[in-house]
Symmetry: C2
Subunit: 217 residues, 2 copies
Amino acid sequence: MYSAAMSTQEQLGTQERLVRSTQELLWERGYVGTSPKAILERAGVGQGSMYHHFSGKSDLALAAIRRTAEGMKETAEECLSAPGTAYDRIAAYLQRERKVLRGCPIGRMTQDRDVVQSPELRAPLDEMFGWLQGRITEVLAEGQRRGELAAGPDPAALAAAVAAVVQGGYVLARAADDTAPFDAAVRGVLMLLATQVTVDAPGTVETADAPRTGTTN
Amino acid sequence: MYSAAMSTQEQLGTQERLVRSTQELLWERGYVGTSPKAILERAGVGQGSMYHHFSGKSDLALAAIRRTAEGMKETAEECLSAPGTAYDRIAAYLQRERKVLRGCPIGRMTQDRDVVQSPELRAPLDEMFGWLQGRITEVLAEGQRRGELAAGPDPAALAAAVAAVVQGGYVLARAADDTAPFDAAVRGVLMLLATQVTVDAPGTVETADAPRTGTTN
DNA sequence: GTCTATATCCCGATAGAC
DNA sequence: GTCTATCGGGATATAGAC
C-alpha cells in the first residue's frame, strides 16, 4: 500500500482494480447498464480473473457499493464534525465540492431495480442514508440545544429534508443539464434554516448571507 | 375516445397500447432496463406493429416520456391552483397521494445515461421540472406578497428546495424500502416554511401543525 | 397494419488449458 | 491466478409474407 495516490490503476492488484472499475461504471451507467465485459476492459484483466475473485456481477457490485458507501460516510463526516456552529457544519456539508451533474453514486443505485430488490445490495444504501440522517439529526439537535437554531422543529424531520435536498438537487440538475437547480435548492434550505433564528416578526426577515457553493461539475 | 376510463388496454388502439406499456416499463425498469420485446409482450402486439408506428426504442420512449411529463404537470397544477393559502397549496402538493416506493417516473429518467445524453429525450424532463419550479415560485411569491409567508427568502431558491425534497424523498425512501424518510423530509420542509411566519424570538418557536401525509405505497 | 423469420451482436456464466 | 474458447439466451433491428 505504498502507492495509494495514483491516477491510474496500473500498479494495483487485480482484485482492487476490479472493484475500482466497478465503482466507476456503476456511477456512470448504473447496475443494469454495467456489464462484466465493460468492467474487465476498464480493469485490464481477463474474464477468468474476475470469476476467480468474485462469484459474479452482483458479488462484485456488492463490494463496489460497500466501498463507495464507506467513502461517502467519511467525506460527510469531515464536514459534519468540522469546527463551527451547527448551521456552519450543515452548510459545509451541503456546499462541499460535488460532481453535481454526475449525480450521487449511492443515490443512483436507488433507481436500479435489481439493486433495491436484492436485500444484500440495498443494505449498504440503507445503512449509509440511515447513518447520514442520524448524523445530521445530531448536529441539528446540538444546534438547537446551544440556541444556534430555533428549538421547535423535529431535528430528525429537518435532517431528512436536508438529505433529501441533496439527492433531489442532483435529480433537478441532471434534468436541466445544469448545476444551477442544485445550488438553488441548497440555498433555499439554508435560507430556511438561517431565517429561523433571525426572524423578528412576519414580513421583516433578515436573511442570512449564505456563502457561495463550491460545485465544479 | 368514448372509453377513456378503463383498467386494461384491450380496447385501445395499437399505438396507444404501445405508449402506455412503455410508460409503465420505463417507470418500473428505466430506459436501459426496458426492451422492445418486453413492451410488445405487455402491449400484446407483434414486433412489426411497433416498427410500423415508431422508428425504434428511443422514439417510443420519447412519446412515453412526453405523455408522462404532461400527466405530472396536470396533477401538480391541481394541487398548486387549489383554493387556500400559499402554504396550503405547497402542502397539498407535497402531501398528495404518491406511490413513494415506486419513485418518480420522470425523476427516474434522470438517472439513465442514454436519456440525459440525448437532447431529445432529456427535453421533456427539463421542461417539466422547469415548469414545476416556476409554478412553485409563483405560489411562494404570491404568499409572500399576501403576508402568508415570510418576505425575505428568494422564492425561486425555496421552490427548488421544495421540488428537491420530493425527488430526494423518493431516493431516501427507496434506499430504506420504507416511505418514512419521504414523509419525514416533507414534514421537515413544511415545518421550516411554517415557522417562518410564526417565530417571535430565537428559542421560542410555535411549529405549525402540519396535516398528515397521504402516501400509500 | 400486422405478423413471423432472421440477422447480428452483447450479456452473464462456465470449461478447461496454461 | 489468469487466460481463451464456448455456451445459451436476449437485445435491437430488418426483411418480407400476408
